[in-house]
Subunit: 470 residues, 2 copies
Amino acid sequence: MSQTVDSAVSAVRTYIEQHRAAFLDDLAEWLRIPSVSAQPDHAPDVRRSADWLAAKLKETGFPTAEVWPTPGAPAVYAEWPSGDPEAPTVLVYGHHDVQPAAVEDGWDSDPFEPVVRDNRLYARGAADDKGQVFFHTLGVRAHLAATGRDAPAVNLKLLIEGEEESSSPHFRALVEEHAERLAADAVIVSDTGMWSEDTPTVCTGMRGLAECEIRLSGPDQDIHSGSFGGAVPNPATAAARLVAALHDAHGRVAVPGFYDGIVELTDRERELFAELPFDEDRWLRTAKSHATHGEAGHTTLERIWARPTAEVNGIGGGYQGPGSKTIIPSTAFVKLSFRLVAGQDPGQVEKAVRAWAAERLPAGIRHEIAFSPATRPCLTPLDHPALRSVVRAMGRAFEGPVRFTREGGSGPAADLQEILGAPVLFLGISVPSDGWHAPNEKVELDLLVKGVETTAYLWGDLAENWRHAP
Amino acid sequence: MSQTVDSAVSAVRTYIEQHRAAFLDDLAEWLRIPSVSAQPDHAPDVRRSADWLAAKLKETGFPTAEVWPTPGAPAVYAEWPSGDPEAPTVLVYGHHDVQPAAVEDGWDSDPFEPVVRDNRLYARGAADDKGQVFFHTLGVRAHLAATGRDAPAVNLKLLIEGEEESSSPHFRALVEEHAERLAADAVIVSDTGMWSEDTPTVCTGMRGLAECEIRLSGPDQDIHSGSFGGAVPNPATAAARLVAALHDAHGRVAVPGFYDGIVELTDRERELFAELPFDEDRWLRTAKSHATHGEAGHTTLERIWARPTAEVNGIGGGYQGPGSKTIIPSTAFVKLSFRLVAGQDPGQVEKAVRAWAAERLPAGIRHEIAFSPATRPCLTPLDHPALRSVVRAMGRAFEGPVRFTREGGSGPAADLQEILGAPVLFLGISVPSDGWHAPNEKVELDLLVKGVETTAYLWGDLAENWRHAP
């Protein structure tokens, strides 16, 4: 067996080594297209990026590779059937649009002219997310070369959207429209990262997100705080009291019903988190913060990855200028966001928040609450066979143990999970130093190649260990 | 005695009737000068207003009438000694600057072209404060005419500032500079109002004012609420918790030491407030508010006139634009104002607020507090002989009982009280419908004449009932 493994590894590595230079040239060509979805004057570039990717996927061997238009920027869809009726179907998610970037922001070189320094490839999109999308192209070729197959061991589908950096406004509708073609047994998201260069990890969940703005009205106009102060309700005070009532003394969210149904961390998961080489001082520097603070009885990693939260993203009311103005403001607002974990339903959270706010506001303060479209949480069960395959494939590529993380943020992957009814897994090789959304974004070439290698092992492992039950 | 009183009243009224037309012509001439202290292009008008008033006071008979320059707009000072070494000295305070006004704001006629309609004089400054300053000119002449004196029964001083509508930035320094010449046994402020046309009242106090801005810092820059939410302190939450902690469940200010030393309302004062024909629904409409709210155990009038308060005048932090932004803000602020009542020391309040805020903020939140210059509260004791004189003089003019009010706001009169060490009394004839700071400001001509008449009786009553003890 060890013999077999070694020879398979060797075949994969040889193939990758032979094609690495061309792979990097191709990636560089793609990175030169400034597919900035947030800037309207780059709309032609985003379309060009989609066309380029579809063509490249055809060249890679995908029998089908299409550009799917949306009311905004187009997505790319590709599929490569296995031919095996019992093979599981995997849908890879990524995005081909990038964050804005300009040399003036502090880049050491042109963000859209890729350059390699110290075995790192610098360019906007190198890690987020073109690099991580692109390792799938060489990965599937290496998988075929090493196994002698002419189609992947799984039915492989790719959905690479073009608006992720603009909050994916049309993604949900796109997935709903094409749900039948996108049907899959598992979704693999390649738009995340690992713990560090030395600690390969698999992310097993992202938090969901419910956001709202609460607008409060008191007096019909600003009134004099000398003439009326102390005798009528002040909407800024009411807003502050709402925010103060969001948490109890133990840092738990105090909205009744908020925790209903949540999937609690198991002892095993807490142990797995605790095994990570977490340095709180270093983390605080990354957070640019001066203390930790949060729900009692939980570590920082548990708090950001696995516990639901309530945060104030904005608050305002009354006089905002320099000095003072003796008014009772007419209006005030708070913008709140709730990160959700598995088991929480955004609709139930919205209902709970509405009831909580309505009950707490005093007579004379009117209010309105507007919720934005929510994102559901997603969580991969630790014992899911597809997750085991990802861990094994990654372990072979990295030649060492693979640990588990989660992401505190939220992403459109949850829409895939919900609409397609498939579990979401994460396969990413980016590291915190890659500088997503920042100047001098880069990807570590050695890790990028490990991503290629991981997917080269993954499809075979999945097909072998997890049969599709039609 | 009744014979004497009647003949005195008759003499005063006859004199006023004879000079009423010329008095109103003069007032109209003054109101035509747009002495708007807040607008730099009206600075020459404010100076012209001061010159005009000084000349008019000389014409009235004041041996001394001077324009006192300040680094901003000038004040006018006048004095008319009694000649009686035991006569008390009274300093009248008012202001000759006015609020901005423009026809476009909704005036039915030019705000600086006075016009009489329905026995009301409409013009910016008619009530606030030129009309109420000006009744003193005819009042002292009527006093002399009716008593046959050639100097007032009291040593009469006037200090009419030019920056009251711009927060009196140089007033305190001016009073300190001229403290010796301004020395008085009592200060009479003619810059307030009465309960209503039918209910003549004397104001017996104004609240003081301490204002501060608390600036809170958390992360060194806005950070991602997905990556870090729930694990570091949020300065907007900290700001809200401070505000929420300002009051206890009974609506009392919860800053330890805040109430130390305050002069509580006596049962007699509460009875006097309760005697006023207060209509809460009507008051709420004036407050443009939809409910009353405040310290338990106190009526609305007690809350706005005689109880100290804490109000939020402004709050801000984080994202202020439309929609949502998933950040933990780097900074937040609250602007607070505390209305103070007799017995509270602004310095002590500042100290208490600083200690309270410092103690309540969590680790990782840094803060700065900036206090603006404070205004002290003032309160006339109900049994003060000068107050009794004011009440008697007003009672004769209005031919009926005089009740007591207070003002919830704060004013520079408190500086006079503090620097000169003299009690402050209020004599004003404006009514709530006069529209201070609003379009179509007016003064009721009948009440303006009652103001003239009141001062015509006041100086003799004061000299007779309250001797100066050198």
